[in-house]
Symmetry: C2
Subunit: 410 residues, 2 copies
């Protein structure tokens, strides 16, 4: 990572409350998996009280030096009373060891009871750790912090903090987004399409697997009836606007249920020599002529789409079309990789159409069906083509195209 | 693909025998899977006889126009008597449809009996096809062509041609290599290290899965006692030199058996936040200090090695070390992808060391062991680390390092 890519800045959000934002433009694969050319931010928050400050989470390890410098420009670190750890994943806890070194002896690290063990296993440190209970209230001078456990959203130790007097909910990964947004705050009622896209992409990639736990935790949050004026996540912008929590919960609920948007079709295909590609192009063109515009993700000899973006798009699709080559008497290896991620990260009762091209026998279909059968996805049509599309195949593809149009319009 | 990347050239190899070489510098993933920054060539061959010519294979579809032009600059296509199809994979048969259009009515397409069916399924064409038997001899004027079936090396219809009078063996994929070599011919007894690397990489990627069939076909070729002065493959350079066939067979036999080179260690790791990376770096540094230099392939947030190169290196390794992160209560998805390719493409009784890093439980090890247990690989050591490397882990890692040194020196 180049030095000049380590931009860390401080932003006053309101009286006593600051965001320290690290902008990561060097990272290529978030979590080592997800392509993010849009980059990502790691947001830490600082709350200043009459009798000391609280720091909520930190940033990724590569930004440690700059983070500590910026923090010191804002407060005297010896005045930190609490370091609140919402989540131990290293993109947020990376600067924790250096921060702990700088703390006053009396300062406490607050977190879910499991967090202490993780600080020791991930960093070999035993700071003055105080486990906080679900619903526990801790005072920081004039400020009142309520901790809300959100187990398995998306680690066992994840929790949120409600700052009652400010009406701020500090949420770490929850309600976060990829990208390096221009604005520190964003109105949830006027969410730019692009920002919602990055929020959904992040959701599908990082926490999509935990959808049952997400729904449980969303219900829990609803029932708490918190008065929330802003949501401060650790990736992306602060969410504000009327009914911000309700709006954010509604978005997350629809994503956790993988609810379909009107007539949205996503196609993903792997093609070795263009055979699968020509089948897909034929279908996509016909759909387009009938007013159905499919999102197409391709994995060919010349190009690979981002699996990260694919998952975000699949999540809200009404129909998913998977078209694959056959390889070494098996499903094409990249299809297996992608399909396993689709069923794991976006598992839902969605219709799926499976198309294959084969030379000798349609083994790819059988392998794909086996893989999909372990998920909630429903294969509504499966068609295998032996090499080039022939007249009889066109008859079947034309039927299929009609079915797709009925399905997405129905 | 840019127009100026479609370089197709003709090379006189000896009296009556020419190579038409297409250089593909645009392709990123050979077979849609294998990263080849070194590029690849598609070689077609032309044999000119007293009473007409033979064309052996063609090139990839994207080079069709240029291929036909170059062919026409060499011969009158109406004089082509035979088109010999050794293998129907589209990187060699891509220009076949256009070539067939240009042929004289009397010209015949010769191939394995299964090839006719494939020409129809892949191109929807029924040319004047003549199936040739294993060992069948066909005369082209003064030249004598003997066809040798090599089933499942690496498709069911693959075959070779022995041009007896020239002592040339035309082999299509067999003995081919990636890269765009400067020289049309290369001495097998002075094979440049880099060329052998690309030949082995190609072997592991494209035909490695068919090792049992490779060995059968190598034995068959040995027993034919052909007098061969040159091997003309469809990727890379023509192989020449004393005992060229014996040398090439020996190389292929050792690769088909995945024979280990002295003390060669290959390490592949996936790392989300640097934990696995630090374990690997510790081991690799200690090995290096003891004179064991490991090949390291990494899949991190900032970098991904080529899976294609990895497979070529694993093939001749004495020991393979796989180190992986844990993800969503499972093996890290990229580790699964890579490990499945390793056991499929280089399946051999090699020792393998499995290292994992986990936060909650070492599920990754169990998943990896299950996957490896279906192969011939032998897990000689398996060690899981909970987060950061602690003192007790260093004790184990130091033992492991000693074991590795003994193993690779033994």
């Amino acid at each position: 990572m180049a030095e000049d890519n380590r931009r860390v800045s401080v932003h006053k959000i309101q009286k006593d409350f600051y965001m320290i934002k690290a902008e990561d433009t060097s990272i290529k694969y978030f979590e080592g998996l997800w392509e993010i050319p849009e980059g990502v931010t790691y947001n830490s928050y600082v709350l200043i009280g009459d009798e000391g400050s609280a720091v909520f989470d930190t940033v990724s390890r590569g930004f440690t030096k700059e983070f500590i410098e910026v923090l010191k420009s804002l407060i005297d670190v010896k005045d930190v009373k609490f370091v609140v750890v919402h989540h131990m994943e290293p993109d947020h806890s990376g600067a924790l060891p250096e921060l702990i070194k700088e703390l006053n002896q009396a300062a406490e690290v607050l977190g879910h009871p499991l967090t202490g063990r993780l600080i020791e296993s991930l960093y070999g440190l035993k700071p003055r750790f105080r486990p906080v209970k679900d619903g526990e209230v801790v005072k920081l001078g004039q400020h009142k912090l309520t901790f809300i456990h959100t187990p398995w959203l998306h680690w066992p130790e994840t929790m949120l903090t409600y700052v009652e007097d400010l009406k701020y909910l500090v949420t770490c990964d929850v309600f976060g987004a990829y990208s390096i947004p221009k604005h520190v705050e964003i109105d949830v009622n006027q969410l730019p399409t692009e920002y919602e896209y990055f929020m959904r992409k992040y959701f599908a990639n990082v926490i999509g697997y935990y959808r049952e736990n997400i729904l449980k935790n969303l219900n829990k949050l609803k029932q708490l009836n918190l008065r929330v004026e802003a949501i401060a996540p650790s990736h992306g912008s602060i969410l504000k606007g009327e009914n911000v929590l309700e709006k954010a919960l509604t978005l997350y609920e629809s994503w956790a249920k993988a609810e379909a948007l009107d007539s949205k079709v996503t196609v993903v295909y792997t093609s070795m020599y263009g055979y699968v590609e020509r089948v897909v192009e034929y279908i996509v063109k016909a759909l387009s002529e009938n007013g159905v515009n499919a999102n197409v993700f391709k994995f060919t000899s010349y190009e690979r789409s981002n699996v990260s973006d694919l998952l975000g798009e699949v999540l809200t699709s009404k129909l998913v079309i998977v078209a694959s080559a056959t390889y070494d008497a098996d499903l094409f290896p990249l299809t297996t990789y992608i399909l396993e991620l689709i069923v794991k990260k976006t598992n839902a009762e969605k219709p799926l159409i499976l198309l294959t091209v084969y030379g000798w026998g349609d083994i790819a279909s059988n392998k794909a069906k086996e893989l999909i059968s372990k998920s909630k996805y429903k294969i509504v049509r499966n068609y295998g083509i032996n090499g080039l599309v022939k007249d009889k195949d066109y008859v079947e593809l034309n039927k299929l195209i009609k079915e797709i149009i009925e399905l997405v319009r129905g």
